[in-house]
């Protein structure tokens, strides 16, 4: 399939195509910078490709090359299932034409490349730093930037410009009827109130910041800012071996660490073409779904707290505690699990795991039942949630949404069904979808997803058969002890794995799975050494949050809070 996509692109773009490849089944095409915009537009509009979802924009630095940077646009088509990457090479300081006029999701993604690599994008509407702070000098992901060189920030950034604050009414219009007000035109600007939310605010659940211009209680205009939890996952990963990165993946979406663990090892195993034994696969599916349940418990619980329904939070958190008990016995940690390994798992399940898990899942189901009964037809909740923060299918796709938030609009895109991995095709489950894409639908979608996940976990438990949990592949798995002691090959193998780590063959690839918030992707570039050359995470909530200011425009402040809770923005994953 990817071959054909490449042919289409090559015949349209012609001599500007520098190189094509279909490594690991993804079409990847390199074009000259001048032809980039044309190529992207073709990929989006051509009926045979129709890449309507721009997943990510990725930068890679090759300091020894004259055209130092790779800028890669990674796309997917929801209708044809095609995955295409368009790549271009630019020298330091050479501008790339923006794609933010084609997809809204390109806006923030390009800002990130600009921030971390210093690649300028021409005609970009808002080219500012995004993850590092405004006083930061240099570009952090360039290979020559030392990892430990921190830079102090002394003054928090102002988001709204003086211009925007002073001329708000003229710029953005007015919402309230002021026909009977006796004010002079010049005085009107003082009617607009600037309100700053975050980055330390209970409703932002982490470190986000929104500055809004209010007319009464209505948001006229707002700007959001992220990066307050930028912990440099990507720089750290270039500094560690492949296995050492697993603990860092816990802390991406820390509410569903298990799901991330699984996503990361799947991506690396895809690069190395490693098969894991059946028991390992089943356990991975099981824990990934546990992670999803735990995520949705927190998300729905806190969303309801924000709307004022505190009780539900206690119900859900108690259910979560029951799951914590199982998870803690399984891997020794409640939250930051690090349970998977490349080629296997940290350790096998403990004895009595299934009974305990069934008991805990019973408690979870009980809690979900109680909460559903409390909110589903609750008048106050419906008034606060129905029609709030709604988005259409086209807009959601254009903004790069995936996961439960996209499904709440009615698009049934779920990686587990669309491109099954790890044996998901053999499980029986449904993809719940909503209709209106509002807060109400998002909550109900997540609740239904929890039921589906419980179903998958039960099926996985029924299938568990004794067997090995580690792949036999000696490139990733330690040889058994008696081989190490009694044969030179075994000893060498052991020595190399310990001292040099796993060696992923040189090349690039994109591994993706269904995270709790949507498509969780890892774009990996390896140079064949023991450390990754580049890992780019495709965090599902990054594009979702980039649309927030559009979602809340014209809504009340309290609706903005309800919307934010329903999007499930996890700062660890958003800022990495």
């Amino acid at each position: 399939m990817s071959r054909r996509a490449l042919e289409h692109i090559a015949s349209e773009i012609g001599a500007d195509v520098v190189e094509t490849s279909d490594e690991l089944g993804d079409a990847s095409v390199t074009v000259r910078p001048s032809a980039l915009h044309r190529t992207l537009e073709f990929c989006r509009d051509d009926p045979r490709l129709r890449c309507d979802l721009l997943l990510d924009v990725i930068g890679v630095d090759y300091p020894d090359r004259a055209e130092r940077f790779d800028v890669i646009y990674s796309m997917r088509s929801l209708s044809t299932g095609e995955r295409v990457r368009v790549k271009t090479r630019v020298a330091d300081g050479e501008p790339v034409s923006t794609a933010s006029d084609l997809w809204n999701s390109a806006n923030w993604a390009e800002r990130e490349v600009y921030d971390l690599y210093g690649v300028p994008f021409s005609d970009h509407p808002d080219l500012r730093r995004i993850l590092t702070h405004h006083e930061f000098k240099g570009h952090a992901l360039r290979k020559d930037y030392p990892i430990e060189k921190g830079q102090m920030c002394y003054v928090p950034e102002k988001l709204l410009t003086d211009e925007e604050i002073r001329f708000g009414p003229q710029l953005y219009g007015r919402t309230m009827d002021r026909s009977d007000a006796v004010v002079e035109e010049e005085e009107i600007s003082s009617d607009y109130l600037t309100v700053n939310l975050g980055p330390s605010h209970p409703a932002t659940h982490g470190a986000l910041r929104i500055e809004a211009l209010l007319d009464g209680e209505t948001i006229i205009h707002s700007k959001s800012e992220i990066g307050y939890l930028h912990r440099c996952f990507e720089k750290e990963s270039e500094d560690h071996t492949w296995q050492q990165i697993i603990p860092y993946t816990d802390r991406l979406n820390y509410v569903s660490a298990l799901t991330n663990n699984v996503g990361y090892v799947l991506a690396v195993e895809k690069m190395m073409a490693i098969e894991v034994p059946e028991r390992c696969q089943t356990i991975r599916v099981l824990v990934a779904e546990l992670g999803r349940i735990m995520d949705h418990l927190v998300c729905v619980g806190t969303n309801l707290v924000d709307i004022g329904a505190l009780t539900n939070f206690w119900y859900f958190f108690n259910a979560r505690e029951h799951l914590y008990t199982v998870v803690e016995r399984m891997c020794g940690e409640r939250l930051t699990t690090s349970y998977t390994r490349i080629g296997g798992l940290y350790r096998d399940l403990y004895e009595g795991f299934e009974d305990e898990l069934r008991h805990s899942l019973g408690k979870v189901e009980e809690a979900i039942g109680e909460v559903t009964a409390l909110v589903q037809r609750n008048r106050i909740f419906m008034d606060r949630a129905v029609g709030i923060g709604a988005i259409s299918q086209e807009d959601a796709i254009n903004w790069g949404w995936t996961g439960p938030c996209l499904r709440a609009t009615g698009v049934d895109y779920d990686v587990r069904k669309a491109s099954p991995y790890g044996g998901y095709e053999t499980y029986d489950f449904d993809i719940p979808v909503g209709e209106n894409g509002d807060v109400y639908d998002r909550v109900l979608c997540r609740i239904e997803e929890m039921y589906q996940s419980i179903g998958i976990v039960n099926q996985a438990m029924d299938r568990l058969k004794p067997g090995p949990i580690f792949s036999e592949d000696r490139r990733v798995t330690m040889p058994p002890k008696d081989e190490v002691y009694n044969s030179i090959e075994g000893m060498m193998n052991h020595f190399k794995l310990v001292f040099e780590g796993i060696q992923v063959p040189a090349g690039e690839g994109y591994g993706f799975s269904e995270g709790a918030n949507g498509e969780l992707g890892f774009f990996i570039v390896s140079d064949g050494s023991g450390n990754p050359y580049r890992i780019k995470v495709r965090p599902p909530c990054f594009p979702i949050f980039s649309s927030f200011t559009e979602l809340v425009k014209g809504h009340m402040v309290s609706d903005a809070i309800a919307t934010l809770g329903g999007l499930n923005i996890i700062a660890g994953e958003l800022d990495r």
């Binding site: 430990e148 982490g206 307050y228 912990r231 440099c232 802390r251 958190f317 505690e321 939250l335 930051t336």
Partner: protein, 168 residues
């Protein structure tokens, strides 16, 4: 009403310092400065399994003006640093700070261009809680230790200004 102050059995004598500290230590109002994973574990501490209200510290306030215990739960990035300082300065005396988790205590396993290497480079810190994230019991232990520390402190309205490290 029943209590008359002339009756000798209605008096207790104590030291003023002890009486004040007794009040202070059992009515800490925490403000969680939650930024990351540790904040999720903090939610666990306040919810009913471990229930922080057994120690008189359940009145979680999200306004620094109304609280006297700052619990920094999570990684502090350089971008967040000026905000943490601002929040600390907005709190009224007397005030205490708990660094929850290794990130807040020392930067944890993030030693890179984005992460502050411990909040004590920014604000004075009373308690450090180990763990990534600390278990709820671990945080409660820190709370109890802080209460013991408060018990030993003087009652001057404004605590002696501790020096903030000059790098901040």
């Amino acid at each position: 009403m029943g209590v008359t102050l002339d009756e000798p059995q209605n008096y207790i004598t104590t030291k003023l310092r002890q009486a004040v500290n007794w009040g202070r230590k059992y009515s800490l109002w925490p403000m969680p400065f939650g930024t990351a994973c540790c904040a999720i574990e903090f939610m666990g501490v306040v919810s009913s399994f471990t229930d922080i209200s057994r120690f008189g510290a359940e009145l979680v306030r999200f306004s620094p003006r109304q609280s006297d215990l700052l619990i920094v739960a999570g990684t502090i990035s350089y971008k967040q640093a000026p905000i943490l300082k601002l929040v600390y300065e907005q709190m009224a005396e007397p005030k205490w700070v708990i660094a929850m988790g290794v990130c807040a205590s020392s930067g944890g396993f993030y030693n890179n261009y984005g992460t502050v290497q411990g909040i004590d480079t920014l604000i004075p810190t009373d308690m450090y809680v180990a763990g990534c994230p600390p278990t709820p019991e671990n945080l409660l232990h820190a709370l109890v230790q802080l209460q013991e520390q408060i018990d030993r402190e003087g009652i001057e309205a404004v605590k002696e200004k501790r020096r903030v490290p000059s790098s901040a």
